[in-house]
């Protein structure tokens, strides 16, 4: 029998980085910026947190302040992600560069930055620790509710996660609320749909694009932080984060630009990601590699299906991918 009680929590843990990435990218895309750099931003979010935690762990020795243990990596992650968002915005919004090329360059840059510091951190700080293992920080990040264990399967499925997982869900719901119910959301959507109209209505298009892209980057960056601190137990290994950034972008289409849908969708994808572990294969190890295709194949199927039904409400923001210049003639 398929073991749901152990499968679901693992699917959720896989899903949280996707959820954060997807929410962040959705917010960004709502402003008309198609940020293909999300993969890189998530790497940078992760490595910034690692750098912060690493430096603090080394400096603090055995006396670690529980608040700072969380706050320092979190702050580093936020700063790193914002810087990435700023690079993207400066190039595409201020300098009106092609969004696709900028995004790809940002991914190259971000992944490179992650792997470089992941591999060279020890060398650069000149310590004698053999590898970057942030056990104590990770313990702080993955702390769960104390009574979750006592509630049997219910506790395991719903309460066994660390605070960032609940933050991810809260962020998705909050983003959904802001987009649909508030004036800020209305203005943001108008920037992504028709920046000329937004501009004529007195909305500061450039400011919205900068702000939302940076906020989106932070949310995505948190996904990287969650991955390394909680899922990977504080061990940074190069390229381990893999293609999750790209899947997050694909999820945006899957969820038809609705952050609230991303909660379940990303858990579903998280499940697909680890499906190969749960399907018994016996001695045929090769076939596992085929099962690992599941999330990609499903993404492709979803892409095709969503393109086949052309509902007016389910279209991407109309100005997605275009840069805006008021005096364009």
């Amino acid at each position: 029998m398929f073991d749901f009680i152990s499968f679901i929590p693992r699917a959720v843990m896989q899903g949280v980085p996707l959820m954060l990435g997807c929410t962040g990218e959705t917010i960004t895309e709502k402003s008309g910026n198609l940020n293909l750099g999300t993969a890189g931003i998530m790497y940078v979010g992760g490595i910034s947190g690692v750098i912060g935690a690493f430096l603090y762990e080394n400096a603090a020795g055995t006396e670690m302040n529980p608040f700072l243990t969380i706050a320092i990596p979190l702050l580093c992650c936020i700063v790193g992600s914002i810087l990435m968002g700023l690079i993207y915005c400066f190039l595409t919004v201020t300098l009106r560069a092609n969004q696709n090329v900028t995004g790809l360059a940002l991914t190259t840059f971000g992944v490179g930055l992650g792997n470089f510091f992941g591999g060279s951190l020890i060398k650069l700080v000149k310590t004698d620790i053999p590898s970057v293992v942030l056990t104590r920080t990770s313990q702080a990040f993955s702390r769960t509710l104390p009574f979750a264990d006592r509630l049997g399967w219910f506790g395991k499925i719903f309460l066994s996660y660390s605070f960032l997982a609940y933050v991810a869900i809260a962020l998705a719901l909050f983003a959904s609320f802001v987009l649909n119910r508030t004036r800020t959301g209305l203005e943001l959507r108008s920037v992504g749909e028709n920046p000329g109209t937004a501009d004529a209505a007195g909305i500061n298009v450039v400011r919205y694009k900068y702000l939302t892209t940076c906020i989106g980057s932070v949310v995505s960056g948190l996904g990287g932080l969650y991955y390394v601190m909680d899922y990977a137990s504080g061990v940074w290994s190069n390229n381990a984060f893999g293609d999750r950034g790209w899947l997050a972008i694909a999820l945006v289409i899957f969820t038809i630009w609705r952050p609230s849908v991303s909660i379940l969708a990303s858990i579903l994808f998280g499940g697909l990601y680890i499906l190969n572990v749960y399907i018994p294969t016996g001695t045929n190890l090769a076939i596992k590699e085929i099962y690992k295709m599941a999330p990609y194949i499903v993404t492709i199927v979803v892409l095709v299906i969503s393109s086949m039904q052309k509902k007016r409400e389910n279209q991407p923001p109309a100005a997605l991918g275009l840069s805006y210049f008021r005096e364009e003639r």
């Binding site: 004036r183 209305l186 108008s190 004529a200």
Partner: protein, 508 residues
């Protein structure tokens, strides 16, 4: 009235786009309680000047004063704060939003759509509009969208309203309705500016007229003190003959026959409903109708670009042989030996490639000629050079991307190319839209030349005055149906205008 302080004073306004001088030291006064018509040819800088007032552009030089006080309008929110609202020719609406969402867009405060809807209904009652605050913009007709734009500006409390060619998309009846509203506003003490190049509108609505020519301000005066001929002369800079030639058709015989042509768009909406008519060789057949009631689909169906649900479109050769065109794409039609030329509405989006130069654009129709894998670039280059000479196209060279040319020259390139392969049928959509008077007349002449060559010309137009002067017969469309076919020499504007709305419910 001259003693009043103008609501708006623009002085020595200059604006350049790259090397193009759009406005050169322009002056303008706008008064409250008046409708000002800003008159000028296309490309004379009317819209640019008003865009600087509404904060879309920032002037390179010059000053703007509101109620006698000098101000800086750096962006649209500055303009709104000063009570200036502009209704652009291309509507500034977000398609996926409702009317109410569009109207409150950009305003401060908490989002309360219920309260907004109430206020919108109030404004509608006061001036006589009809707007459903809950309706999504993509479900609206053009005139509904325009109404939303006007309500949007009023909702913000604007008392200086600028309308950029508001009547271009309206029927004569809708235009009258709009004018009645504008008069209401004027009597309410608001300053209204209407940008136009139509003389009769100036005469019917405005109290004062200001005229621009090639970016220069050529003067303003009270409308009652002037007349159409004087205004035209000021607009064009020299006396112009305003009549369009209409030679008598010779040796007319049926060329294109449509029977019960029915077309649905991608969303399954009926765009053409059992349309039947015959276009004759050696005549100009006009197509009149409110914008978006099937003209585009009609031409595209004949040109092989639009799938047809039922009916038949036949090309009739000189010997009376019928060739069915439905189900064939433009290439198949060409292979049949049917010389069909098409000047589409969207010049740079369909007829030409904006980023390609003149000679590459000439190749669009002919690149397949010749055997082998390689293209022949010499002949198109030669053709382009000839055309530049012949049609007096203003361009730095034939290697210039066509998007850099002005509207009139772009159209000359397109029409020139379409005529160059000696068509038997010529389809044109809004052939003179956005063109200045000189270029428009060049196009009318070219169309008449083709007519005299025995070409069957189908001319889709929006300006009823032109249709009535140019066309031999006019097919009037209303909501995708033919509501009448009239003789261009015998009918008048009221008859055609009534037919355009005769069937009542326009299924948008």
């Amino acid at each position: 009235m001259e003693e009043k302080i103008p609501a708006v004073m623009m002085r020595d306004i200059t604006k350049r786009f790259g090397s193009v001088l759009a406005n050169d030291k322009c002056w303008l006064n706008i008064y409250r309680g008046e409708v000002l018509a800003l008159l000028g040819e296309n490309g004379s800088g009317k819209t640019t000047l008003m865009n600087m007032l509404s904060g879309i552009y920032f002037p390179d030089e010059g000053t703007i004063s509101i109620d006698g006080k000098e101000v800086t309008i750096a962006d649209p929110s500055d303009a709104l704060a000063l009570g200036i609202g502009m209704i652009h020719q291309h509507f500034k609406l977000v398609d996926v939003f409702t009317a109410a969402q569009n109207i409150v867009l950009g305003l401060p405060g908490k989002l309360d759509l219920k309260e907004a809807s109430r206020k919108i209904r109030e404004i509608c009652e006061r001036y006589g509009f009809d707007v459903d605050p809950e309706q999504k913009v993509f479900d609206m007709s053009v005139s509904q969208k325009q109404t939303v734009e006007i309500v949007k500006v009023l909702y913000r409390g604007a008392d200086i309203l600028i309308l950029d060619e508001p009547t271009a998309v309206l029927t004569p009846q809708e235009t009258e309705k709009l004018f009645a509203v504008l008069r209401n506003m004027r009597d309410d003490g608001k300053a209204v500016v209407i940008i136009t190049h139509k003389m009769h509108e100036v005469e019917s609505i405005s109290d004062r007229v200001a005229i621009l020519r090639k970016g220069h301000f050529t003067g303003d005066m009270l409308t009652k003190d002037t007349n159409a001929q004087e205004m035209t002369n000021m607009m064009v800079g020299r006396p112009v003959e305003l009549n369009i030639d209409r030679p008598e058709p010779e040796d007319s015989r049926p060329r294109i026959e449509l029977k019960d042509v029915t077309v649905r768009d991608e969303e399954g909406l009926l765009k053409l409903d059992h349309v039947s008519f015959t276009a004759m060789s050696g005549e100009v057949l006009g197509i009149a109708g409110i914008s978006g009631c099937g003209q585009k689909e009609l031409l595209e169906a004949i040109a092989g670009l639009q799938p047809v649900e039922e009916g038949s479109i036949s090309y009739i050769e000189d010997d009376g042989k019928h060739e069915e065109l439905i189900g064939k794409d433009p290439l198949d039609i060409k292979k049949l030996g049917v010389a069909l030329s098409f000047v589409p509405e969207d010049r740079l989006g369909m007829g030409l490639v904006g980023n390609m130069d003149l000679s590459d654009n000439m190749m669009l129709r002919s690149y397949r000629n010749g055997k082998g894998l390689f293209t022949n670039r010499k002949d198109p280059h030669h053709l382009a050079e000839m055309m530049v000479d012949f049609l007096e196209i203003v361009t730095p060279s034939v290697e210039t991307p066509v998007r850099r040319l002005s509207g009139g020259n772009v159209q000359k390139v397109l029409v020139g190319r379409e005529i160059s392969n000696a068509p038997k049928v010529l389809l044109t959509a809004y052939a003179t839209r956005g063109l200045d008077i000189n270029s428009s007349y060049t196009i009318y002449d070219l169309i008449n030349q083709q007519k005299q060559r025995g070409v069957a010309v189908i001319y889709v137009g929006e300006d009823l005055d032109v249709l009535l002067e140019l066309c031999d017969r006019i097919v009037v469309l209303c909501g995708g149906k033919v509501s009448g076919i009239v003789d261009g020499r015998k009918t008048d504007k009221n008859e055609v205008g009534a037919m355009m709305t005769k069937l009542g419910g326009v299924s948008e």
